[in-house]
C-alpha cells in the first residue's frame, strides 16, 4: 500500500519532515517558514555534554522541538510515541500506514544503508517519513535525499532502535487533527518572539548570543589546555556541527534570513527585509569562520591562523547576531 505523499528535499531533516507532513494535510508552508515558526534557530555550546568525547556545539534547538512547536502554534493535534519493543513499534507503524497516515520518525544514521559511508557517524536524531509499504519494502521520504528511498523491515528496525547518545527508541509521530482556520501570521510572530527571547535572554553563559561569546572565550584557551592536536579536533567538531547534514549552522542563518524575507511580505512589514539582509551577513560571517578554521586543518602543524583570531571572529558574529535579535524581539502583529 502506498500513500499519495509528495516528497520534497530540504536543507534540514526535521524542517523537511514537518513541511512535507503539513503539505500532505493541505497546509503549504515552505521550509524556511517551518523553521521560523518552529523557532529552530539557536546556539549552544555545552562543554559537559559530549559527542565523540568532545563538547557539543549546536546551532539549533533540540531534535523534535521544531515539529512540536510548529504544530502547537498552528493548533494542529499530533500523537507521538516511543517504544521498548521493536516488533510492537513496527506493528503500530503498519496500522498507521494501513489507515493511510504518513508517519514521521526519529532514526540513527549509522546503519542507514542509502547514506554515503562518510556520513554514517553515530548520530541519532535524524528524521524521515514512512509513507507506504510495497513488496516488503517500506517507502521512505528522507528530506536529505533527492529521491524516494526504501528500507526493509529489518533495516528500518535497526535504524529506529540505534544505540549511542540520545537513542531514538522507535520514536514516531503523526498528525491526528487539523483545524479549519489556521492563523499563520500570529504563529510567525510567536516564533520570532521565542527565538529572540532565547537568543538574548537565557541567563546561562552557554546559550544564545552569550553562548557564542562563551565558545570564543574557551577557544582562546584550547591550544594551551588540550595541546595542538586535541585543539584541532575540537575545532573540527565545531565546523562539522556547523556544516554537516542535519546540523548546518551557517545554513540555518540563511534559512532564517529567507524566513524573515517571506514574513516581511506576508505580514506587510517592510523593515523585516532589512533585518533579513543583516541575517544573511551573519551567515556569511559564519562561512568565513569555517574557511579560516579549515585552513587550520590543512596545515595542521604550521597554521598561521591563531585561535585568538578565530575567537575574534566569533565575537564579531555575536555582536551582529545580537543586533539582529534586538530588532526582532519586540515584533508584534500590529
Amino acid at each position: 500500500m502506498k500513500i499519495d505523499f509528495q516528497h520534497k528535499q530540504s536543507a534540514h531533516c526535521e524542517n523537511g519532515v514537518t513541511s512535507n507532513l503539513l503539505n500532505y494535510y493541505g497546509i503549504k508552508l515552505s521550509e524556511p517558514m517551518v523553521f521560523g515558526i518552529g523557532s529552530g534557530y539557536f546556539f549552544s555550546h555545552m562543554p559537559f555534554y559530549k559527542l565523540n568525547g568532545m563538547p557539543v556545539t549546536s546551532f539549533r534547538v533540540l531534535p523534535g522541538w521544531i515539529f512540536k512547536r510548529v504544530t502547537h502554534r498552528l493548533g494542529i493535534k499530533v500523537e507521538r510515541k516511543k517504544f521498548t519493543n521493536p516488533d510492537s513499534s513496527m506493528k503500530e507503524l503498519d496500522d498507521l500506514l494501513n489507515k493511510g497516515i504518513p508517519t514521521g520518525m526519529l532514526v540513527g544514521v549509522f546503519q542507514l544503508p542509502y547514506f554515503p559511508k562518510e556520513y554514517r557517524f553515530h548520530f541519532n536524531a535524524h528524521n524521515l517519513t514512512v509513507f507506504g509499504r510495497e513488496n516488503g519494502h517500506y517507502l521512505i521520504s528522507d528530506p536529505i535525499m533527492e529521491h524516494i528511498e526504501t528500507l526493509t523491515y529489518d533495516e528500518l528496525v535497526r535504524v529506529r532502535f540505534a544505540h549511542g547518545t540520545y537513542p531514538p527508541k522507535g520514536r514516531m509521530y503523526h498528525i491526528t487533527h487539523v483545524p479549519k482556520n489556521i492563523d499563520i501570521n500570529s504563529a510567525i510572530i510567536t516564533g520570532i518572539n521565542k527565538t529572540a527571547k532565547d537568543m538574548l535572554g537565557i541567563p546561562v553563559p552557554m546559550f544564545g548570543i552569550k553562548g557564542i561569546r562563551f565558545l570564543a572565550k574557551r577557544m582562546r584557551t584550547w591550544p594551551e589546555k588540550y595541546g595542538q592536536k586535541m585543539a584541532i579536533l575540537n575545532l573540527g567538531q565545531v565546523i562539522r556541527m556547523l556544516e554537516e547534514i542535519g546540523t548546518g549552522g551557517a545554513g540555518f542563518r540563511f534559512i532564517y534570513a529567507a524566513f524573515l524575507q517571506e514574513s516581511a511580505e506576508r505580514l506587510n512589514k517592510r523593515w523585516l527585509n532589512d533585518v533579513s539582509v543583516e541575517m544573511t551577513a551573519t551567515g556569511d560571517a559564519w562561512r568565513e569562520f569555517a574557511v579560516m578554521a579549515a585552513r587550520c586543518f590543512k596545515n595542521r602543524d604550521n597554521a598561521n591562523i591563531t585561535y585568538d583570531s578565530l575567537a575574534d571572529r566569533l565575537m564579531y558574529i555575536a555582536d551582529r547576531e545580537e543586533h539582529v535579535f534586538q530588532q526582532l524581539k519586540d515584533i508584534s502583529v500590529r
Binding site: 530540504s10 565523540n52 549511542g164
Partner: protein, 143 residues
C-alpha cells in the same frame, strides 16, 4: 551567500543520490534554494574526523597483531564505537566489554557471546575471530 556562490566542491556528496540544499540570495534579492555538491571547508572537517577514526583503528590493529588487544577492540574502533555504544548494541555490560577488549579474555570467550559481538559489527562470528582478516582490512578513504 549569493546564488552563484553556492559551493560545488566535490567531496563526500554524490550527485543524483545525495546533495545539500542551500538557501541563497538570487539576482533579484529574493531567497531561492539550490543544490550543492559539497563545500571544501566541510570536506576538510569530515576528513579530519575520519583520519582520527582511521588512526585509532590502525593503532588497535597493531595491538591486536601483537596479541595484546582482541579483534573486538579493532572492530569497535573501525565502527566508531566506544565501550558504551558497543555495550548497548550487544547488551553485554560495560565492564565485561572492557575485559573482552583484551586478547587473553577474548580467547576464553563463549561462542554465544562472540556471536553477539559479530552481530553488532554485522559480520559472521568466524570472521570476527580471524586475526588474519584484520591484517588485510583496508583502512582509509575510499576515494
Amino acid at each position: 551567500m549569493k546564488i552563484d556562490e553556492v559551493p560545488q566542491d566535490k567531496g563526500y556528496l554524490v550527485k543524483g543520490r545525495i546533495s545539500d540544499l542551500s538557501y541563497a540570495v538570487g539576482n533579484d534579492g529574493k531567497y531561492i534554494s539550490r543544490q550543492s555538491q559539497g563545500w571544501a571547508p566541510k570536506n576538510e572537517a569530515m576528513s579530519l574526523a575520519w583520519d582520527v577514526v582511521y588512526e585509532r583503528a590502525e593503532n588497535a590493529r597493531n595491538l591486536v597483531l601483537a596479541g595484546i588487544l582482541s579483534p573486538v577492540a579493532f572492530y569497535m574502533e573501525l565502527n566508531i564505537m566506544d565501550v558504551h555504544i558497543l555495550s548497548s548494541y550487544t547488551g553485554i555490560s560495560k565492564w565485561k566489554v572492557k575485559r573482552h577488549l583484551k586478547m587473553k579474555n577474548f580467547l576464553k570467550m563463549k561462542p554465544e557471546v562472540l556471536s553477539r559481538y559479530a552481530e553488532a559489527f554485522k559480520m559472521a562470528p568466524c570472521e570476527l575471530s580471524d586475526v588474519n582478516k584484520i591484517r588485510e582490512v583496508k583502512i582509509g578513504h575510499e576515494n
